[in-house]
Amino acid sequence: MNALDTKLLRDLWRLRGQVLAIAVVLAAATAIFVLSAGTHASLALTRDVYYARNGFADVFAELTRAPADITERAAAIPGVAKVEGGIRQLATLDMPGRHEPMRAIVISVPEYRPRQINRITLLQGRMPSPDAAGEIVADEAFAEANALRPGDTIDAVIYGKRQTLQIVGIGLAPDHIFSIAPGELVPDNRRFGVLWMGERALAAATDRVDAINTLVVLLEPDAVSGEVIRQLDRLLEPYGGTGAYAREDQISHALLDSELSQLDALTRVIPPVFLVVATFLVLFVLGRLIRTERAQIGLMKAFGYSNAAIGWHYGKFALVIAILASVLGCAAGVWMGRAMTELYAQYYRFPSLEYRLDPGVFLIAVGMAVGAAMLGALLGVRSAVSITPAEALAPPPPPIYRDGPFERLAVRAGLSPAGLMIIRHIARWPGRAVLTAGGVALSLGLLFATLQFHDSSRFMIQTFFLRAQAQDLTVTFTQPRNERALHELEQLPGVFRVEPVRAVPVRLSFANRSERGVIESVSDASQLSARIDRNGAKLAVPPRGLMLSRQLADQLGVSSGAEIEVRLLDGERTSTVHRVASVVDEVIGARAYAAEDTLLAITRDALPASGALLRIDPALRDDIIDRLGAMPGVLGVSERSAAFALFEDMIDDNLYTMLFVFVAFASAIVVGVVYNSARILFSERAHELATLQVLGYHRSEVAAILVGELALLVVLAIPLGCVVGVGLGQLMTAMFSSDLFRIPFAPARSTYGVSIIVVLVAAAATCALVARRVLALDLVRVLKARE
């Protein structure tokens, strides 16, 4: 080993505390990147493989009833590769001892050949046999949540007829990675399931022999889904088609997609913050190291070492840190990625979900770490090699202090000499102070931005479930019903209030964009529902025209005042043009609303209720649910409190792991920044600190000067960090918002407090560590050395 490399090793060992502190910050960035990019890549790949292997449909269509051979006409549409028709029917389930609304979607499977599209992966048991009427395959999530096994039976009401179903198999399908009941927002595997039943048996049960009510399509590789959808809509219109839609609008796919884009957002926002801090730290520590080595650099240059050789010597110092960080970060990222993937596995139903180690991810991660460290080194070395050997060999000139505005202010404020030392030192090296305060502020911001995520998500669901809704139960009818049905509900003992839900399926079009959805009727007189914007304010319903959620307005590219085409997707299928009266910021989804009068103008007809909202006596809940389940016109019942609890659980489960990771990482930055600042401060001021002790200052008083400077910078960093946190938090909530949710930025006040406390504790612990060195200062030796 040559002498320079020996020196390098000894320098690394001497500065091991600082080396480790930088490496930890850099490793945190690497780990987060490997974690999120790795998890994202694994999930995306697993999904794509699953979709391809099981033939996940490209286009979906639902209709009232069509002859089974309509599939042949659909297959003739240019761009269509494969078509399959089938039956989908919602059913209510009745399980002994369960007083809760349970539903399932029953889907037909061909008995004599495997499905070509949305193929089922059988995990246990077998497919239904052609001649046994009540055999079903249950989806894994539902079976697990209800402890169902092949051989178990379930009572169901399908199409108004009670039937006993026997589970013969447990399976999965790509169109139900998430299964969500119609009208619900979160998967509830206990109360909603997917059941696959033999085609003939389901046709018989639903009175649809040789008829279908659903179509799924696989497209040719280069086909455009929009054109196929248009032709399919034309084909299916006479059969009660409610508008075909592409994968993007398929609920299971959309949910998975929103989770994946959240992970992607995480990859893009968080690691850069860590990298910026780490780069500065490297710059900071190397800059300091190089300043203390002026004479040695002068000597090396005098001996004939080139600038490049000297630069490379310090570059290697940074490289060692980067490699250490890469190893630590990749290992931690893989470890956390596995844990995270396992967590996701509880939600996503893939036949196999494996954590994949994509070499590209590691390459980028190591590249980022090395890049950040080398940039830091480059900037530090540049100043060192620019001085002449003679200059470098001479002792550095003493620092010159001059009174600027800050210093004069401090003098006028009558600060003690110790206070003046702190202020002047900060003012003399403002860049360094900015770096320390900036690093602490960034980590505080990062911490706050992640912690507030929990608040904002809770605010979102509280707005949605507690403010926007006041009903206890939501009843869905098998088909739109008139006032008599509502009256029947009112008659049930324990029902206090009934309000109709009126929603009309439509396709909204503006210019060349169109979206399918429903227009919901809203009324200011409603006691059970209200429209609440994402700041928590109640929205007034416009008397005329449509009220669109921001999400939907953005998708259509319209703003308030625009005239949009509204085409009914059932009944008369008429088209009318309506004005967008207002665009509102809601927390959930793409939605359209109108007052009843406007809705009547759209339907040109009476406005039947598709369901009802109920407020009930909680004491009679079980009884009411049982009675509702027995009513033939009732397709399903959902409970607000259950949905709310489920949503909360989902947010907690998903976020807590992440939050723990971020609290740990943000603390790592604080420790890294403060530790390095303190060490540098300490080594530069050891002489002054010793002098003070000789003059009769107690060690604690001397330590207070050292800690005081850091404390001042940390305190200055706190408001700055809050500003950074608010900005970063807004960016993150915006990036995490999907087609399904718009997360408002609504941090709790306590979150500011918690973030600040975490930062202060980390900073204080680090300061204490360095202050101990003041206590161990060897006065005689320090003072004998020339300044």
Binding site: P398, P399, I400, L420, H425, G696, H698, K784
Partner: protein, 243 residues
């Protein structure tokens, strides 16, 4: 017992009994002091002479409470310094001792006046910082930072800082070592003036034997012992020194 015992002329400020100091560096032991006995009278001017490593600085550091002897006892008045812990030594320095070093040890981020205030802020009966600077003839430079002062001026600020708390003892380690002779003499004049006007005990370490002329007694150090003591019946004025 090494070296002849010193004879006090008044109430002793310091009394050292058998002070020894052994430094261990790795495998080797360095005997910096080998059983020094010494009485120093209050108000006395003492000059310590001797080659490097003869034990002068070690004795000065122990007297100032910056270091502890390996064995032996040291009294300041009635108080045994060798029995004090860290906090006790700090309180001793704070109350009684002023230090002056070869390289000034001023705080660069504080002006001359503020450097003095560092001490007056924690002393019990200090001079006004400006009065202390006046004593060394630097009142006009009070608002200057160390980097704006010459070496001699910096050392005189150090003197002002040391005397501002009105210590009983001034310990000076090579106070003129980094100065030219004219500047050095001005610093010595300031020190002697303090001694005469306020009765401050003055202990000066130097390599420069010309300075010995201002002392009441001169202690010659060799190999950790006091080899010889010179009594000066009539000390001369610093102005009369030539080197």
């Amino acid at each position: 017992m090494a070296g002849p015992p010193a004879t006090p002329t008044a109430a002793p400020a310091f009394r050292a009994l058998g002070l020894s100091k052994v430094y261990r560096t790795g495998e080797t032991e360095v005997h910096a002091l080998r059983g020094v006995d010494l009485d120093i009278a209050a108000g006395e001017v003492l000059v310590l002479l001797g080659p490097s490593g003869s034990g002068k600085s070690t004795l000065l550091n122990i007297m100032g409470g910056l270091d502890r002897p390996s064995s032996g006892q040291l009294f300041f008045g009635d108080e045994e310094l060798t029995g004090l812990d860290d906090g006790g030594l700090t309180r001793f320095r704070r109350a009684h001792v002023g230090f002056i070093f070869q390289f000034y040890n001023l705080v660069p981020s504080l002006t001359a006046e503020e450097n003095v205030r560092l001490v007056t802020d924690i002393a019990e009966r200090p001079l006004e910082p400006m009065a202390a600077l006046e004593l060394v003839g630097l009142a006009k430079r009070a608002a200057h930072y160390p980097a704006q002062l010459s070496g001699g001026e910096q050392q005189r600020v150090a003197v002002a800082r040391a005397i501002a708390k009105q210590p009983e003892v001034l310990l000076c380690d090579e106070p003129t070592g980094a100065l030219d002779s004219a500047t050095g003499i001005r610093v010595l004049e300031a020190l002697v003036r303090i001694n005469r006007e306020r009765g401050t005990t003055l202990v000066i370490i130097t390599h420069n034997s010309a300075i010995a002329g201002i002392a009441d007694r001169v202690l010659h150090f060799l190999d950790g012992r006091i080899a010889r003591i010179e009594h000066n019946a009539s000390p001369i004025d610093p102005a009369g020194i030539v080197w």
